[in-house]
Symmetry: C2
Subunit: 418 residues, 2 copies
């Protein structure tokens, strides 16, 4: 942070009462008087018939730039991610076309009529389940987020990255998933007493597999068949994926083909070489499944410039926690010295995106906007310094620190560390 | 209903206790033993890399037949509907590509950068609001259904139609809508004491306009900008639509361009010649805005055939009410003689799709499946006979009677009136 901005910040803090910066009510902004010309002119769209009905709708051509950004490894086919443009979205549901992707070897082409899920290993009766068979079971739905364990990993870098919010934090999305409670199928197979883990394998080219504790699978795991009402998208696991609410993305195994019940975890590549973090003690965090509480101001955010007509701005963003519901989100405009509680949009759901917002008075002053989530267990999203003091600087996964947006007197917004 | 089926029905009623037909628990069904061959064979999808990341995802090619069916008037460009395939969906959210359409003159092409909403008439300050201006206001979200007033109108015909459930009842969809509370803008304009109604006009070729009571606009009306997280789809009102939760589709004016505050309704074409129903008294129901409680079993439903391996089937469907939350949904397998309460999927939301389900034991017996919704006001979905006794047979709109699916001994399902 340069000196002139620091000075501005001090002036701001000294001169402005908090209550006049965050407003508990909204003020009129931005409306224009109606001209006679406007009242007497019909827009072109009223002078002709519009376009036809469609069998499956698509976004407006005027929104063609609202896309998932792709970051792919050129050396491994289909290895990489695509990011949800969080800063362009509103509400809490991620539309299926924009749900983030993480593949290790691309999106497999799987004909649902020949796909089966096999449950074997330490069970009394090894069984297979076709997709048609799964549809005969009771289905439940769960609105929840899925977040890649590597989301926000740019935060571990020594300098703040200036990419758009979704291009850093958008490996998380939120959808309504519907499918069969896994416990029904496990119980049908008969779980043997020694079975403590299950190795879940995907039917993709990477043969992705991970070890999962049986307790979670018997608790709230779902074999998801539907995503926001329709059948899963191919890139989200069609024809069936595992859903483990609140747990890191990779264990929500897409294109699921097998669950093998075992005594011990298999120590696969993706739970040893990957998805673990080296701690300052020399030990590695492993099987760190739960995604901890996190929040992000999506608007205004890095790369945006506040319009040149100052006044009220709605600060809004998303909070989520793999531990349960979000209890509160606080927002600061002074880099964390003072905090104001934001409004949470009802209904606040378990392990789901929670939209927060509050009006903010911007009159051209320097500011550092931050948000801080607390979940129902009392866990509070840490500052970056706290996170690094606990986890060291050899980590890549599970970054959930408070994010800081610096706004200068021209309304330009940068990502900073404070 | 033919005699042999009636006889079957009597036999069924006499011979079977209700508790053995509707089960409060689930039973294993349809699993197959694991073969050694299956354990040792890798599917083709694991033998090669999959396809690439995409900027905006699409449904699986194996789901290409899951579409909106189009019923358009060949004599008027863009006049008609397309239907949501309710029987193919699960959960409660309708994905944006499958949200039903109703247009009077097609989908207008509106550039958001030049679109404005004008509020004039009996206000102190007539004002216009650009899309950018609207984005500066506080936004709220609402998960709710929108239902065309003409949905299910085939129910008024003298003989039961045999089209798929969504092709008769699918002019209703459910989404998360986000936008600006209209009351903020109306208050900014200053509502004059004589203003009791507003005439809302769309910027489409039909210049669709309707009169709306000011109380609703000040209550829960939203100028919706986002639909399931992303900007509205063109066919759903891009760049901005009016959302009046629980009220018939037409008053949720798409492509909104003007609200003119007035003393009396304008008696436009779509609130006189259309969207009214002639009652037996000779009077017409007019301004019958609220969509009353309704439910529909989506699976199993007409046109489906139950598989030839009898056992447990999940009866599931949707219920909704413009009055508020659904309190209960009851299901009958004997044409309404006896009822069992279905399970409602949490969270049950105000004026939103509510998913109900219960397991059903089918062993090849004749059955008539029905569902009956009751909302939190105590309003109960009527039988077809009750609806017609109250409303006569000159109606076209607001059909919400109980729907009956007849299942014969071969598992074939037909739509019947009982």
């Amino acid at each position: 942070m340069n000196k002139s901005l620091l000075k501005s910040r001090r002036q701001f803090l000294q001169g402005t009462a908090l209550s006049s910066v965050f407003l508990g009510f909204s003020l009129p902004v931005q409306a224009q008087p109606v001209s006679e010309e406007l009242q007497q002119t019909l827009p072109d769209s009223m002078l002709k018939a519009g376009s036809n009905f469609s069998n499956y709708g698509q976004p407006s051509i005027y929104e063609k730039d609202i896309i998932r950004w792709i970051s792919a490894n050129p050396n491994v086919p289909g290895n990489g991610v695509s990011w949800t443009p969080l800063e362009e979205l509103q509400g809490t549901i991620t539309p299926n076309g924009l749900h983030y992707e993480r593949h290790h070897n691309g999106v497999p082409d799987i004909n649902p009529s020949s796909h089966e899920i096999m449950i074997d290993g330490l069970v009394d009766k090894p069984l297979t389940f076709s997709i048609d068979a799964l549809k005969r079971y009771p289905q439940i739905r769960k609105i929840c987020f899925i977040e890649c364990g590597g989301n926000s990993n740019a935060g571990w870098r020594s300098a703040p990255i200036q990419s758009a919010a979704g291009y850093v934090h958008g490996l998380v999305s939120n959808a309504e998933w519907t499918g069969v409670p896994l416990r029904l199928l496990l119980n049908e197979c008969g779980i043997q007493a020694e079975a403590k883990w299950a190795i879940a394998e995907a039917a993709d080219g990477a043969a992705l597999n991970v070890s999962l504790p049986i307790e979670k699978l018997l608790d709230d795991a779902i074999l998801a068949l539907y995503q926001n009402g329709e059948r899963l998208r191919p890139e989200n696991g069609y024809p069936v994926r595992l859903l483990l609410p609140g747990w890191e993305g990779i264990v929500n195994v897409k294109w699921l083909r097998q669950l093998k019940l075992v005594e011990q975890p298999a120590m696969t590549r993706d739970e040893t070489a990957q998805y673990t973090d080296l701690l300052p003690t020399g030990k590695a965090r492993q099987f760190s499944f739960t995604m901890q509480a996190k929040s992000l101001i999506t608007s205004p955010s890095v790369g945006m410039t506040l319009p040149d007509n100052p006044g009220i701005y709605q600060v809004t963003g998303l909070a989520w926690s793999g531990n349960g519901k979000i209890r509160k989100v606080e927002v600061s405009a002074d880099g964390g010295d003072t905090w104001v509680q934001a409004e949470l949009s009802d209904p606040v759901l378990d392990k789901a995106f929670t939209r927060f917002s509050l009006p903010w008075q911007w009159q051209g002053q320097y500011a550092i906007l931050q948000s801080r989530a607390t979940d129902e267990t009392g866990y509070q999203q840490p500052s970056r310094n706290t996170l690094i003091s606990e986890r060291g600087d050899n980590s890549f996964f599970h970054y959930n620190a408070i994010v800081s947006w610096e706004i200068n007197e021209d309304g330009q917004i940068s990502h900073i560390y404070v």
